[in-house]
Symmetry: C2
Subunit: 358 residues, 2 copies
């Protein structure tokens, strides 16, 4: 690695105390849309794909990207985190904040991520592809994400040639990404659709038009805390704008649907809903031991209650922060030592009580 | 009825705000023993049993007892409540505070109860027998109960002859009460025995020596809130003192047993227990709607937690009071209007939140 600038100079314990700006709970439709994300898969021309590249080549790729990128599309400085030298806990912390994928954490060899101040822009280096550029925003803001991701893409491309085929478009390690290399995804909070079991229809409707519905941590993850991620599965044969419009339209329909059910629940069943929300608050502020799964579920109820005006505290950004901070690696960082599962349950309960105390 | 002194001059709404002194949570072994009770069944000589007595005779019995009794064994004044003229809700209130039985509330004709200040002594008139004298005390205090019940018994007997047979003893409407006419019972709070399922063994052990184990409201009632009532089933062929010693011995064994399990739980499983207790507190102080059954269960956990020093608030007398006040008739009296089941669930939750607020 370059000896000029030290790697991983950030304090991971400090990092664990905050969360990305894209979790601040504002932006369009933020009653239901947590965040929007655009991710672009790119590979440098003249190098084998990551899985077949030598350590030297991978090292060279890391250096090339680091040198080509100093700030994100909004001019905020970007910092390189060397994932190769991270301990498992710090790598997991980055996974939990969605700065890197599980794959990048688990891979071998030279690799890392560039992260902008505020964590809205990140570039993974040597994950499945040489580059994964991602931009995140709070609320439904796919066009902003795309604009900024595209600007970062241009900035890098101005200094390094990408593997591009005139007919197929951007070449990627996995054929499902070939073409635009774009993955557009929106994280939705859908407690009312889940409670009324309408969520099954969301799955069915999305599948019909080739959109995927997944849990909080993407592929294969459970829909914990009533969070659902909607994303495109097609990347080829359409423009980025068309693909974004397609996701936008579906998401807007789901948002309206969730909103309608929330309104109905408030009208027909307000006191039962209020009871559920208040009990969730009661358990979160009193439990002495609590699992991650129960925490997600109860925070989800609390978020719904605050959004519906049934509770006036805590504020949504606090709840969003707690979703992040109560995950295993965050908890251990906040606690300052490594904890086994039952110790984490105690530490999680303590953290929640302190953060949610009036 | 006598026109000299008005009946039922007490304010039932005011009554609902307090509870009997025997629920104040002190006395011997009060970590586990809620209360002790001795009840004596008596009938006046020269009158048919209640089920066969004319309305006139029953009226006469009421008058005779009222006149023969003005204060309890401790000199505290006794007041007559005319159950015949009570509305159903007020009668239910008296049942919930254990001042009268369900039978007395449901019977027809002249009947009532004399209650001493503090509610430790009560005399039901024209229930199954002409008289049911009961004395209640907080904690394990059967001898005091017996002494005071016996003094009231003597006081009445000094002015009215009882139906007594030299060989059989006191005659009663039901043969199971013939002889001493005594029922000795102790209300125990046994959450640890219930949680560890050892409570089944308590049932088996008690049955072997002809003691009954019942729930909060006696015969046929469920053991809600982990309350179990131990009482004698034999009344004939032994002296009152022998019968009391018998119950005392068994109760002391059960108390030791429950205490041992609590100590073990505190040693081996403190944090899980603390969690359960704290969650119970969280739900009780936050729920917006709560059933009577769930309330009993959670208050029971809270009582255990306070007794084990896991929580420092609320105080045991407050918890005991809440067990009484969250029952249906009490709630309606406290609320000032008649409430259906789901309205009661809301009113119960509101009452609990207010009473348990810091």
């Amino acid at each position: 690695m370059s000896s000029e600038e030290p790697d991983n100079s950030i304090c991971f314990a400090e990092l664990a105390r905050g969360c990305g700006e894209w979790l601040r709970g504002d932006g369009p439709d933020s009653d239901i849309v947590i965040s929007s994300r655009v991710r672009l898969a790119r590979n440098l021309a003249g190098f084998a794909f990551v899985s077949r590249a030598s350590a030297d080549a991978r090292h060279h790729i890391v250096q090339t990207i680091r040198q080509s990128l100093t700030s994100d599309a909004l001019g905020r400085p970007m910092q390189f985190l060397n994932v190769e030298t991270l301990c498992a806990l710090d790598a997991q912390l980055l996974v939990e904040r969605q700065l890197i994928s599980r794959e990048l954490a688990m891979n071998d060899g030279p690799r890392g991520v560039m992260v902008s101040e505020g964590e809205c822009c990140g570039v993974m280096i040597n994950e499945e592809d040489h580059l994964r550029i991602q931009v995140l925003h709070s609320g439904l803001a796919l066009n902003e994400c795309w604009k900024e991701a595209s600007a970062v893409d241009d900035q890098i491309e101005s200094q390094a040639a990408f593997a591009f085929h005139p007919q197929f478009g951007y070449l990627t390690a996995c054929p499902t990404n070939v073409g635009t290399g774009i993955r557009i995804s929106v994280m939705l909070h859908l407690p009312a659709l889940r409670m009324t079991r309408e969520i099954q229809k969301v799955h069915q409707a999305a599948q019909k038009i080739s959109l995927a519905v997944r849990g909080l941590h993407g592929e294969g993850s459970q829909a914990m805390g009533d969070f659902y991620q909607i994303s495109n599965q097609i990347t080829l044969g359409r423009s980025e704008e068309e693909l974004i419009d397609n996701v936008m339209e579906v998401v807007q329909n789901i948002v309206e649907w969730e909103r309608r059910i929330r309104t109905m629940a408030l009208k027909d069943n307000k006191s039962a809903l209020h009871d559920q929300v208040a009990r969730a608050h009661g358990v979160l502020t009193n439990a002495r031991s609590i699992s991650s799964e129960e925490t997600m579920h109860l925070l989800s109820m609390l978020r719904l209650g605050v959004r519906l005006g049934l509770m006036d505290a805590p504020e949504v950004p606090t709840i969003n922060e707690l979703f992040v901070q109560t995950q295993p690696a965050h908890l251990q960082k906040l606690h300052g030592e490594s904890l086994d599962s039952s110790e984490r349950n105690l530490a999680r309960a303590t953290w929640l009580r302190e953060k949610l105390a009036h």
